[in-house]
Amino acid sequence: MAITLSLSWLSEILGTDFDHVEVADKLSILGLEAEVVTSTTSKLQHVVVGEVLKTDPHPNADRLRVCEVNIGETKPLTIVCGCPSVEAGIKVPVALIGAILPNLEIKQSKLRGIESEGMLCTAMELGFSTVKQPLLRLTSDAPVGADIKNHLFLDDHWITIEVTPNRGDCLCALGVAREIGVVLSNSLKVKPQVRLPFDDTPVSIEDARCSHYGHAKIKNINIHATLPFWMEQRLNAASIHRVNSVVDILNYVTLYLGQPMHAFDLDSLVGDVHVRKAKKDESIKVLDGQVIHLKDELVIADQDAPIALAGVIGGLDSSISDKTQNIFIESAAFPTDTIIDTSNHFDISTDAVYRYSRGIDVEQVKPSLSLAVELILDICGGNLVSSGFSGQPYLMKEIILNTTTPYDVLGIPLEKDEIISRLNAFGFKVTKETKTFINVLVPSYRNNINMQIDLVEEIGRNIGYENIKSTSLLLQPNYNPDQVLKKQYQISQTLIARGYQELISYGINSLHYAKQFASEKQVVRIDNPLSEEFACLRTSIVSSLLLQIHHCMNNNIHRGQLFEFGKSYVNSDVEKRSLALAVYGQIDPQGFDRSYHFDENDIKGDVVAAISNLFPGQNISFRINRDEVPLFFHPGYTAQILLNNTSIGWLGPLHPTLAQEYSKNIYFAELDFDALIRQEVAFKHPQPSSKFQACTRDISVIISDTVTNNEIMECIKNSSSITLKQCYLIDRYVNSSNSQITNTYRLVFQSREKTFLDKEVNQAIDSIIHRLSEIGANIKESQNDNIN
């Protein structure tokens, strides 16, 4: 969380001015990422103190008044004002023509026919109040004509600090001032004091989860009192929501000292207040309006019922309202775990929860209460009736530090004296030293320091990591390539050369979309999704590519060759790594032959090329497998891809239902990348090509459409009695009248040992023809012409 503080306030606490930017840089190095920001009020220009001399009704508008305003010039200004609180004799801020306010610029203008030479301002218009109020009345001694920024000390800068969760102590001005003090080697000038008598009977603590509880009762306060400017500015800097004077003051104390505070309406309380465990079946209506049913939570209760969920949220019935006159103020320490459990259980997050869950400074419980009482008496009037406190004195945590540990961890030599002085800089005290150990006391505000290593970190912080010299690691090469990255790279090289662009998608889809790619039962749903659009994990990378293509098509991109690597999820226990490819549209939209469109054979060639590049010389084949085909593919047009007869993926167009919604002219392939990684293809040394003459024969077979090319090729390869180097389809003719298909294959025989004799080749062809006839492929004519 970021906290924004007024820099003049920090200067006041430290008793010194400092270079804001330099300090912000040094705080950043120390671990409090800080940035100086210009306050909204410091940007004000041309706003001066003015005295309203007289006001007249506007001749043309009932609600407006025409005022004469003295700003110290010879001639008073005429200003039209719409605020009913304007009256002669008051001093107010006047925005002159050309003035720059946070939300507007003042220009000369006519209001219902009368020229207005400026604007009388409220605090909200000047940007230092978030509350809509009447005109800002300045004190009667305000010097007429003076720049409002000088008069109200508005020329402030702020510092915004990102506070990491371990540094709850820096969520307040005191904590930040302490760290700046380390930067400046300065101690704090203003320190919180305890000036309350604490002589009242303390609140009884009946549950050990509360360690300290202080309270004060004040009667006859004015809840409508106006806060002093300086306090208002400090609250504004921190963007603290304004409620009423008492709550605002308590928020100010929290912002200052870090101690969460709460106030109850004293008149709503019955009998004594105590801290106890909630009883079963008790309930409380809390500030945000919801009724909470309690079990055994830590609560603050009066005689009858709980009045607050301790450290989490107050009760509505006991809360301060604008009619409150008598108050009961609480300042207490509750443990982190209790607060987090309760707030999580009821899903309530408040500023108090935020602070308690990061740990508070027990030593500030009393001073905070003291300061709150002083401020309330000062601002809201009233009289302190009583104050009480219960809790044991705080015992500082002690850590024993081995003096060689800082060297071991940081890697630079450190003498014991240096270790001690560096720890002292952050407020740690050393009580005992031996040769190799020191006993370190941890200040009450440093809840995050629990073990030796935490002290080492403090020492490192104090030295500045910049100043730790580096030492080379003597690394031994250990060549053990990442198979996933290597294979992905090799496949990608093939694909990009063939025109494919790699994409990366979120991979989180709507349930509606995901259901089109897997059964609803298989879709992995996020329990707490961002939105309906991002509710499920993808079950296939194809779904990601289809979405991307859908967007491309909507953007009039008429072609695409895309691929994506990534994980997909079918059932939550299966994490599958895949590669998907997609092609659609014209192959060469800017070429001569624009009629040529991508089809499944294009993507098939790319898949074969990519796999062959990875595993040279291996057998890749394709077959229909209606039983196992993923449900988003067209089952009759989609091929299962086999590498050495093991399935590694699928290739084809979309299922007709998806095709109807998107397009039937997109072709996809999805490869099981895990299977490719697992593929154990024995590495064979490549052989030089044969020097003996090859013999080529063509054969044509007549088949029906139930016999596939793959079956015929397999049959030919398996039936040859001599080395068949190549076999491929060179012609295919489909007779539309009788659905007879004629496939012509070219067979290339070549041996490494000799040139085959015609006789041997003829014998091989004969046995091939015989086997082909067994699978329903009958030879059309023997073409025994030797091509060569």
Partner: protein
């Protein structure tokens, strides 16, 4: 009988042919099986020895004149053909065929580049093992010293899926690696991580991280610095001005963040988080933190890609702006 004037007429015929076919026909006319000169040679058998010698001399002279002329003319014609071919021209600006090339995605390019750094330093990259996007809460949080209720758990807005989470950082691989690899450990992990952020110019619900883990019995912050200095120099291709800021991660102590000074923008840019492996993390994996120490550091891949390619909106990396993606070439 062939006369010298016949020959000179023949030679001039040869010299005036304008193609190789005609030239070859003339060769056949004079010197083919039934060519004029061949015939004369054949008829010589009836002559006396002296006549033969005289005639042979004349015929050989004719023959070599014809052959020379044909060879010369052949050269002339070939030269002429080349000249003719050379004088032609084509519109070479007509469209080409299949001119599309794709490119590896910018994020993958950055990963490949970073991987190269670690590969050469003997680190093992785990993409297949110990690297899961759907993780147990223990690996993502508890074993990394982020117990339940720890405020740091709310630092990261986590997607939950039944009893698992979509990992919020690749550090979730640390417990797995620490438990299964014998030290010394030199590991690097790349992968996708998830946070429940609505996509905007600087946030996406899915992004990529790299994390490096080194564990040994002798290992200090000083070693971490050396590795990081080299890493940053490698990333930017030159020595950069950097600063170490103290920071907080539950799984490292001391923890730092490292900023790089961008001279053109005149600002510090946070580039990576690092620290010494927290003793609790080692203990959770069954190691004795008194005997073993380690360091770890991580970097957001998208951030690097955006710097490298001058992108202003991280969502650009997750879309299909093909022109933009095809323009991202890290090795330019």
């Amino acid at each position: 009988m062939i006369s010298a004037s016949d020959i000179s007429a023949g030679l001039s015929n040869i010299q005036s042919t304008d193609n190789l076919t005609d030239l070859d026909a003339l060769r056949v006319f004079w010197l083919g099986k039934n060519g004029l000169i061949t015939k004369e040679f054949k008829q010589m058998s009836t002559l006396s020895k002296e006549q033969k010698a005289d005639l042979a001399k004349v015929l050989n002279d004719f023959k070599s004149k014809i052959l020379d002329a044909i060879a010369a003319q052949k050269n002339t014609l070939l030269d002429r053909a080349i000249d003719q071919e050379l004088s032609k021209t084509k519109d070479v600006s007509l469209p080409s065929r299949r001119m599309h090339v794709g490119r590896i995605h910018p994020i993958t390019q950055v990963i490949n580049k970073l991987y190269h750094f670690f590969e050469l330093r003997g680190f093992t990259s785990y993409s297949h093992d110990h690297n899961f996007e759907l993780e147990s809460e223990d690996n993502n949080f508890t074993f990394l010293n982020i117990p339940e209720n720890h405020p740091a758990r709310s630092m990261q807005d986590t997607f939950f899926i039944k009893d698992k989470v979509l990992r919020t950082h690749v550090s979730a691989s640390q417990p797995r690696i620490l438990k299964s690899i014998e030290p010394p450990i030199k590991a690097v992990v790349f992968g996708r991580v998830y946070r429940s952020d609505q996509p905007d110019a600087t946030h996406v619900p899915v992004f990529h991280q790299m994390e490096c883990l080194y564990v040994d019995d002798q290992c200090s912050f000083s070693h971490l610095k050396d590795t990081i200095d080299a890493f940053i120099t490698y990333i930017f291709g030159k020595k950069m001005k950097i600063r170490y800021r103290s920071s907080y991660f539950p799984f490292t102590v001391p923890s730092v963040e490292i900023d790089v000074w961008l001279p053109q923008e005149k600002k510090w840019l946070e580039i990576l988080g690092a620290g010494m492996v927290h003793p609790e993390v080692l203990r959770n994996a069954g190691h004795d933190p008194e005997k073993l120490r380690g360091f770890a550091f991580g970097v957001g891949i998208e951030r690097l890609a955006m710097i490298y390619f001058g992108l202003s909106d991280v969502r650009q990396l997750y879309g299909a702006d093909l022109d933009l993606l095809a323009g991202c070439n890290l090795w330019q």
